[in-house]
Amino acid sequence: MNHDEAEPGLKVVDAFDLDDELRSLLKPGELLRDELGRRHRLPRYFYEIPSHEIALNMRLTSHFAMNELVLNDLREAPRLQQWPRYIPCAVRILANYLEQFRAAAGASVHIAVNGGYRSPSHKHSQYASAHMWGTAADVYRIGSTILKTRDAIEKYNEIAEDVSDEIRVLPYGHDVGKNADDHVHLDLGYVTLVPREISEDRMEQPQEHRPRFAFEERRRKERRAVVAADSET
């Protein structure tokens, strides 16, 4: 690898190494119940996004930037609205499915505010939902269609389900968490991702003399490729 390619990739952090406040908000490794009482362990490895500008420019796939999946409003904990922000590493998997969904829908896919990653401290986070794993997206608009009718939501739900058996959608309806009436909700379930660059042999406490983070090397090529493609247009 050339030295001029030494641009760091996505920074991965073990949330147990974050400061007390961040750990208490992100709750890495904690078990959380879903609406049926089943328990799920919250993710531990996060991407650290230094600034809004970087989030805007950091593409996860050709058509989805990191910014779209970390966009929250004042319902997110104030500390988590500041930069750097943290998002579970599994968001990369979600982005790939979103890219497939976009191709199947044949139009741009717009994720709502609070519709990507929501921390367990977000005011909308009552039960364990895939949003807390970074593996769910609420799509409020596809192309020029604002998703607010049964017909539109059911149409795109069907398209999403046809993309992959891994995708779950919420049916049209008015009960929060059970169905949706102003967006298409799609999620992959409680998926966690451990980047290959990180070691898992660490205790669940900060360790002063151990590496606190890693950079994902494999992201560089993809990001360069997107830049090259963009520059051709």
Binding site: L71, A112, H174, V176
Partner: protein, 297 residues
């Protein structure tokens, strides 16, 4: 058009106040008859002369959009306490839940006055932007979003803390379930007057917070109420309220060279009649009374 002076420079002599009051009272009854108003409530306080006058000012009226003044107050209570930042982003979403049974409802955006807000559906607007559109264009969507952020109990708490007893805010806008259950927002002229006085005098919250509220109120874009009865040079920080059978306006009137006066005019009329010009006429009469000037017809 103003025939004589546009200023209100000199407090009327003490012995003229009573005569002015009688004249004003007669004029208001005349307006009430001419417009076949079912009900009329008025209250004003003139900071220049310290004259306070009212008519039927403890009668309760459907608040219509004057309830948005209470929402504004609730928002700035939270801002003043450091609980809320004016630049905090709020997700613009047309989905709310009824206070009665938590059933979801959406606003009829075709009826909302402000495309500036629903043009941001799916995105964010700041608390300050929402407060601005809620007041200046009476945006129902902005109102419900802010009610969602701070909550009805906080709004009522803000009113209670300031001992404003003539305003009841029970729900957001277009909560039909709550409406059917008889839960409505109501105001009295005295209640709104007290709130506006506290804002005008900078005592509701910090001076900075009150100034922010006044700046928003001064940008009001609907001017068929109080401002329509005033000289063009008058600046009015106000909020209107209109539904099928009520037309209200509540505001602070700034005229050059004198302290402001606070005026609340609440009117209720028969549904078949439609909104008239009663509020503007009352506003003009009160201005004339305070100014001692006469309008050309």
């Amino acid at each position: 058009m103003v025939a004589k002076a546009q200023r209100l420079p000199v407090p009327p002599p003490q012995d003229s106040v009573a005569a002015s009051e009688v004249s004003l009272y007669r004029n208001l009854l005349k307006i009430k008859d001419e417009h076949a108003l079912r009900d009329l409530g008025i209250s004003f306080y003139d900071a220049e002369t310290t004259v306070q006058w009212s008519y039927n000012a403890d009668a309760w009226f459907h608040a219509a959009s004057t309830m948005k003044l209470a929402v504004l107050l609730g928002v700035f209570r939270e801002v003043d306490r450091g609980e809320l930042a004016l630049d905090a982003p709020v997700h613009v979403r047309n989905r709310f839940t009824s206070i009665v049974n938590q059933e979801a409802f959406m606003l009829d955006l075709g009826r909302d006055a402000d495309p500036d807000v629903y043009g941001h559906l799916g995105k964010t607007l700041s608390v300050k932007e929402l407060a601005y559109w809620m007041i200046t264009k009476s945006s129902n969507l902005a109102t419900n979003l802010l009610v969602d952020v701070i909550g009805i109990p906080t709004i009522q708490l803000a009113l209670d803390e300031l001992e404003i007893h003539g305003i009841k805010v029970l729900r957001g806008v277009e909560d039909q379930r709550a409406f059917a259950a008889g839960l409505n927002n109501e105001v009295t002229a005295h209640g709104l007057l007290k709130m506006l006085r506290l804002i005008a005098e900078g005592t509701a919250y910090s001076q900075e917070a009150c100034d922010e509220m006044l700046d928003i109120l001064l940008d009001q874009q609907y001017r068929s109420g109080i401002p329509a009865g005033l000289p063009k040079a008058a600046r009015v920080a106000h909020k209107t309220g209109n539904i099928s059978t009520v037309h209200h306006d509540a505001g602070i009137v700034y005229l050059e060279g004198r302290k402001p006066y606070v005026l609340v005019i609440l009117t209720q009329f028969p549904a078949e009649q439609g909104r008239g010009t009663a509020v503007a006429e009352v506003s003009r009469d009160i201005f004339n009374t305070l100014a001692g000037v006469v309008y050309e017809s």
